[in-house]
């Protein structure tokens, strides 16, 4: 690893040839989010549509990837099929370490393979293998087949793949990473599908010398002890993020039945503890992270009526998927939630988007806007079997309705009616009906993600209404997170990687120059991403919030319409100012 220079593998899928490029931009672009933006500036065209074969699909890791614990995420960037604008999606698994140990800071895919293919890369190999026989194959079966086809480096490779949803070009198609993690949101799966890429194998088969600083190994040990010997990250591996289901329900902030409620006694069936007690099979971890926050549940099904013939599946769960396939659909049984998620995993749709979309469709049926002519199956809140079938129909774009729904709930609502109750905040909402700050923040956030900022946390701690303080918080928090996603750290580690610790890590790893400008780096990367977003068409004033969000009642009482509109306007203005700032 050269601290000064990025090493990038650029693959032209049209020819099947690759080229290693070295870019001297480390000081300004850092890695991860910053590097992804730099590469999109170089290889992307803001004006051409997302499905243009020349638009790049980018994976980027950071300067601390492989060097410190929890530096375990990969940033993907692309022009999103959801809104045809620049975006990022982040994933864990083994992808980050595999890419680092293959010797690359980033992978750029351009062009389009002649037929459905898998790409395999490593330190000294590049192979584009036609895999037409994988057409229509679900993401789990694809993973098994990829393991048979690309046998080298078991345990030290990462396997990315898409399901039918990606092949069909659905804007809510995800990329499955190593079975239990995902580049989930905003349609990365469709981008790969458009490029005729069914899977990517990244083999981390090289090695690098230790940083020369004698304090490097002792600092690694110190950070490792912070995350394993203290309670700082215990909440993530104990019950995990699902612990928040009960918490959010208790403060009337958990969306239920398409956000018609924010609390429900049915929570007792789907709490984090209930999932752990009933379904938790084991924990897993991303490579390089000793926390092990991945919670893998088990479903067991009898597949013959008379005899004792059973099958079992393992399904990862987290707060967000449980909200989307649980409370949002009125499902209050742990195993039923996992059964719905299992189908979403196989077809390769983002579970958050798909759950919210099906919740809207259910209410649209209730209101007579849709019928089984469109939905094919009966959709009723609380009825699992209908949702299992509907998830399959959605992920395979089974008819005109599901194809449109796969482009996004907003797109379907425009066609069929029901825009007022389409729970879309830039994209399908995350599971936080916490109040005005979160609604404004997700609707305008860079990724339209609950992880762009800590808005949902702010809502839970502040009943006062101070727009200036809110906007200042959102912008400052975004810049901090931008820095972490450029390293590329898991955001669960944000309490560990304070600016001081981050500076120490960079210093002993040979990036002393970067430390001098750390804060300004985060701000500049944030602005750089916004410039790309605006260049590809984003206009804050064009984002409108459906009426449903104005009728929510949280622990603070009914949503204050004027306050929400003011926050959204002011936040939009500040973002626009960032994008207009000189680069």
């Amino acid at each position: 690893m050269n601290p000064e220079i990025f090493r990038i593998l650029v693959v032209d899928l049209t020819t099947g040839k690759g080229q290693v490029r070295k870019i001297d931009e480390r000081a300004n672009s850092v890695g991860g989010s910053g590097l992804a933006a730099l590469l999109f500036e170089q290889y992307g065209d803001p004006k051409r549509p997302w499905h243009d074969p020349d638009q790049p699909f980018i994976l980027a890791v950071g300067p601390l990837t492989g060097l410190f614990p929890l530096m375990s995420k990969t940033v993907s960037s692309f022009k999103s099929p959801y809104h045809d604008q620049y975006t990022e999606s982040h994933a864990g698994g083994r992808c980050a370490l595999a890419l680092r140990f293959a010797g690359y800071d980033a992978l750029v895919l351009r062009g389009r393979a002649a037929s459905l293919s898998c790409l395999s890369i490593g330190a000294n190999h590049l192979q584009l293998q036609p895999t037409g026989f994988m057409a229509g194959m679900d993401a789990m079966a694809t993973g098994k087949l990829m393991r048979r086809m690309f046998r080298k480096n078991s345990g030290h490779r990462s396997m990315l793949r898409i399901g039918p949803a990606g092949e069909k070009g659905l804007a809510m198609a995800c990329i499955n990473v190593d079975t239990y993690r995902h580049f989930g949101r905003l349609g990365g799966g469709a981008v790969l599908g458009r490029k005729n890429i069914k899977g990517i194998v990244i083999q981390g088969d090289d090695n690098f010398s230790l940083p020369s600083d004698k304090d490097y190994s002792s600092l690694v040990a110190r950070v490792h002890a912070m995350v394993t010997d203290t309670d700082m990250l215990r909440k993530y591996h104990n019950l995990g993020t699902p612990a928040n289901l009960q918490t959010l329900n208790d403060i009337s902030s958990l969306p239920w039945r398409n956000l018609q409620q924010t609390s429900d006694p049915g929570i007792t069936g789907i709490t984090g503890k209930r999932f752990a007690d009933e379904t938790l099979l084991r924990n897993g971890a991303c490579a390089g992270c000793p926390v092990g926050c991945i919670h893998i549940g088990c479903i067991r099904e009898k597949f013959e009526e008379k005899d004792n013939r059973y099958l079992y599946h393992q399904v990862a769960y987290d707060y967000e998927p449980i909200f989307a396939a649980g409370s949002m659909l009125g499902i209050t049984n742990t195993f039923d939630v996992l059964r719905i998620l299992d189908v979403m995993e196989k077809v390769g749709v983002d579970s958050m988007s798909a759950g919210v979309a099906l919740a809207w469709a259910t209410e649209a049926v209730d209101k007579g806007l849709l019928s089984e002519k469109e939905t094919i199956v009966s959709l009723q809140f609380g009825k699992t079997e209908g949702y299992i079938q509907a998830a399959q129909l959605l992920g395979t774009a089974a008819n005109t309705f599901y194809r449109l729904l796969g482009r996004g709930t907003g797109a379907a609502a425009k066609q069929y009616g029901g825009v007022d109750f389409a729970c879309v905040l830039g994209q399908e909402m995350a599971g936080y009906a916490t109040g005005e700050v979160f609604f404004a923040a997700q609707s305008l956030g860079f990724r339209h993600s609950h992880l762009d900022t800590g808005a949902y946390s702010y809502d839970q701690k502040h009943a006062d209404k101070d727009p200036q303080a809110v906007i200042d918080f959102l912008l400052a928090d975004e810049a901090c997170r931008c820095l972490l996603t450029s390293m590329v750290s898991c955001l669960f580690a944000r309490s560990v990687y304070t600016e001081e610790v981050l500076s120490d890590c960079l210093r002993v790893s040979g990036y002393a120059d970067m430390v001098e400008n750390l804060t300004s780096c985060g701000r500049e990367i944030r602005a750089r991403r916004w410039r790309l977003r605006f260049a590809t068409g984003f206009r804050p004033e064009q984002i409108s919030l459906p009426k449903r969000f104005y009728r929510v009642k949280t622990w603070k009482g009914p949503v204050d319409t004027g306050y929400l509109d003011l926050l959204k306007k002011e936040y939009g203005n500040r973002i626009a100012a960032l994008a207009a700032s000189a680069g």
Partner: protein, 143 residues
């Protein structure tokens, strides 16, 4: 006398974080990698099936040392081997001789295998790894 070897009695607790491999590469072999390590973690047929650790099982006598033409690998008391890297001619005989695929090579042909130092143990968050004492009297075969 009592000498310790690395054992992996609780691999069913393994979460696949690779902290042990990364620690071995870093502390023993002065590398950043998950390949250049004496203990390497892989899934046993996809992540759904859990994990296995590939590491030296301390054969006594060790077949890898028996085929080593330069005495780079020499039998260690109570099983396993010691390594004298400068003597290695990268013939790969040891790699082929290891019955449990515990010796890895990097791209330049250097070999890596567990020397039972135990530095990886403290980095396992779930105590999957243990150093175990092997008692051996003079002239006695290890069980």
């Amino acid at each position: 006398m009592s000498i310790k070897i690395l054992t992996t009695p609780h691999m069913d607790r393994c979460i696949g974080c690779h902290s042990c491999s990364l620690a071995c590469a870093r502390l023993v072999n002065k590398k950043i990698s998950w390949e250049t390590a004496g203990i390497r973690i892989q899934s046993s047929g996809g992540l759904s099936s859990g994990f296995v650790a590939r590491h030296c099982l301390a054969c006594d006598p060790p077949p890898c040392a028996a085929v080593c033409p330069t005495d780079c690998l020499r039998p260690r008391i109570s099983g396993g081997v010691t390594i004298r890297r400068k003597l290695c001619i990268q013939c790969d005989s040891c790699v082929a001789a290891c019955p449990v695929d515990a010796i890895s090579r990097d791209r330049t042909g250097n070999i890596y295998l567990c020397i039972h130092c135990g530095l990886c143990v403290d980095f396992c968050p779930h105590d999957c790894l243990e150093m175990q004492s092997i008692k051996k009297e003079a002239g006695e075969e290890k069980l």
